[in-house]
């Protein structure tokens, strides 16, 4: 097909598989780190706000490929030989946690203050107020922008090409080097990215509409 063999296509699909793996790593890591970041950003304690805000500013102020380099080479200077997957996973975690933390901070603050107050007046502890009353409402608000951000995560995993991680972009580059059909190869890669991302944006928009109606 188009001068490419089934083996070539399979090669690209394997790259796409690793793109999905890295995206999932980035999302799971980003959630694990991003949730505490969101909590600290909306905390009453100034010190927590300052530290978490500094973290967000720092990560958002550095281009993702540079974060990839810093993690990959930085850790190898420290004597750790990291597989590219681990380095890329850490970089994606840092990147997504900063953005998810900001998104979720907004969602927590979007729950009316009167809900905190009502929970407080019922003698709930601060943790109970958050877990039983605020969090479920914040999660509902958070679903559309979070699913929307998944698209950014998937697309931005392509920067892992700079540290030689075998993702979809990298496999396309390698395949092009051996077949010399750049237009065909990169068009197929583009289609594969689209196939991964499109359902996510549809889902995000559908949730958004559902939330607006409610």
């Amino acid at each position: 097909m188009l001068g490419l063999s089934p083996e070539h296509l399979l090669f690209l699909l394997r790259g796409a598989g690793w793109t999905i793996v890295l995206s999932l790593l980035g999302f799971v890591g980003g959630t694990i780190v991003g949730l505490p970041v969101a909590l600290c950003r909306s905390s009453k304690m100034r010190s927590l706000r300052v530290v978490s805000s500094a973290y967000v500013q720092l990560v958002q102020g550095i281009p993702l490929p540079v974060i990839m380099f810093v993690v990959y080479f930085g850790l190898s200077i420290g004597g750790y030989e990291l597989p590219a997957l681990v380095a890329a996973g850490i970089a994606m975690t840092a990147y997504s946690s900063a953005y998810l933390g900001e998104i979720w901070k907004g969602c927590i603050e979007a729950v009316p203050k009167t809900q905190w107050e009502a929970a407080e007046c019922l003698a709930l502890t601060p943790v109970q107020r958050f877990v039983d009353v605020i969090l479920p409402q914040a999660v509902r608000i958070a679903i559309p922008p979070t699913v929307g951000f998944l698209v950014q995560i998937v697309k931005n995993t392509s920067y892992s090409v700079v540290i030689g991680f075998f993702d979809l972009t990298y496999s396309a580059k390698v395949l092009n080097n051996s077949t010399f059909k750049p237009f065909t190869v990169f068009t197929i890669a583009a289609l594969l990215y689209f196939v991964i991302c499109y359902p996510l944006s549809v889902l995000s928009r559908r949730y958004e509409r559902k939330l607006k109606r409610a």
Binding site: E120, C121, L122, P136
Partner: protein, 242 residues
């Protein structure tokens, strides 16, 4: 008998704005006190001091045997003794009516699910909404939501209930059903403090009426006070039809 709430020259400021300028007021167990007065006179602030949503800056405030001005009391125990209902209901939208009511008894008093459900049904029948137990708040009218908010408060078995303009957000045809619930509570002997603009209701139900003006209790009396005001300020307030 000891008063359940005692304000003694209570002062409260927000920044440089002094909102309560020496409020003195006793509230006896089993009585209904209505706080009336112009918007901005400090009624809500006084009410919110009673369950320590606001901290006072001067004077003494005793609530259910606790000296709030000294600090160091058990805040969550106070919140269990004092229920409050707001103008905007503040039901939890992600929980059903029954779940709204069951949440605090389960988490705070650690009672079982079945017991909590029975409790929810008991307080819901008190406000006449048993059939709405499994609906979500958004499926209810404003008046019904406010009755659920009252039921939610009642489920904690408070010694004292506070109401802050609980009918002000309602269409006129829906205020009656909420006032009826409050009146029934009064008959059952519940101690209540209510901020209200419903003068006829205050006159009929309240044992004492406190007219607040400029951050003080300007005039204190029974229902008759509204028909024979002593101060020109209350006279003007009553005359303005507010």
């Amino acid at each position: 008998m000891e008063p359940i709430v005692r304000f003694k020259d209570v002062r409260k400021s927000f920044g440089t704005l002094e909102v309560l300028k020496g409020v003195t007021l006793d509230i006896m167990p089993g009585t209904v006190t209505a706080l009336i007065g112009r918007s901005g006179s400090g009624k809500s602030t006084a009410l919110r001091c009673i369950n320590a949503l606001e901290q006072i800056n001067g004077g003494e405030l005793h609530v259910c045997g606790r000296a709030l001005h000294n600090g160091g009391f058990d805040l969550r125990a106070l919140r269990q003794d004092v229920g409050i209902v707001f103008q905007s209901y503040n039901l939890f939208p992600h929980l059903t009516v029954a779940q709204n009511i069951m949440l605090a008894p389960r988490r705070v008093k650690k009672i079982g699910k079945d017991e909590a459900r029975a409790l929810a049904e008991e307080v819901l029948s008190q406000v006449g909404l048993l059939e709405k137990a499994d609906n979500y708040p958004e499926q209810l009218s404003g008046g019904q939501q406010q009755r659920v908010a009252i039921a939610r408060s009642l489920a904690m078995k408070p010694k004292l209930m506070l109401f802050d303009e609980v009918t002000s957000a309602l269409d006129p045809e829906l205020t009656g059903e909420v006032l009826k619930v409050i009146e029934k509570l009064a008959e059952s002997g519940m101690t209540m403090v209510l901020v209200t603009h419903e003068m006829n209701f205050a006159e009929r139900v309240a044992d004492q009426i406190a007219f607040m003006h400029h951050g003080t209790v300007w005039e204190l009396g029974s229902g008759e006070m509204l028909r024979a005001p002593k101060t020109p300020e209350l006279q003007q307030f009553v005359g303005s039809g507010l």
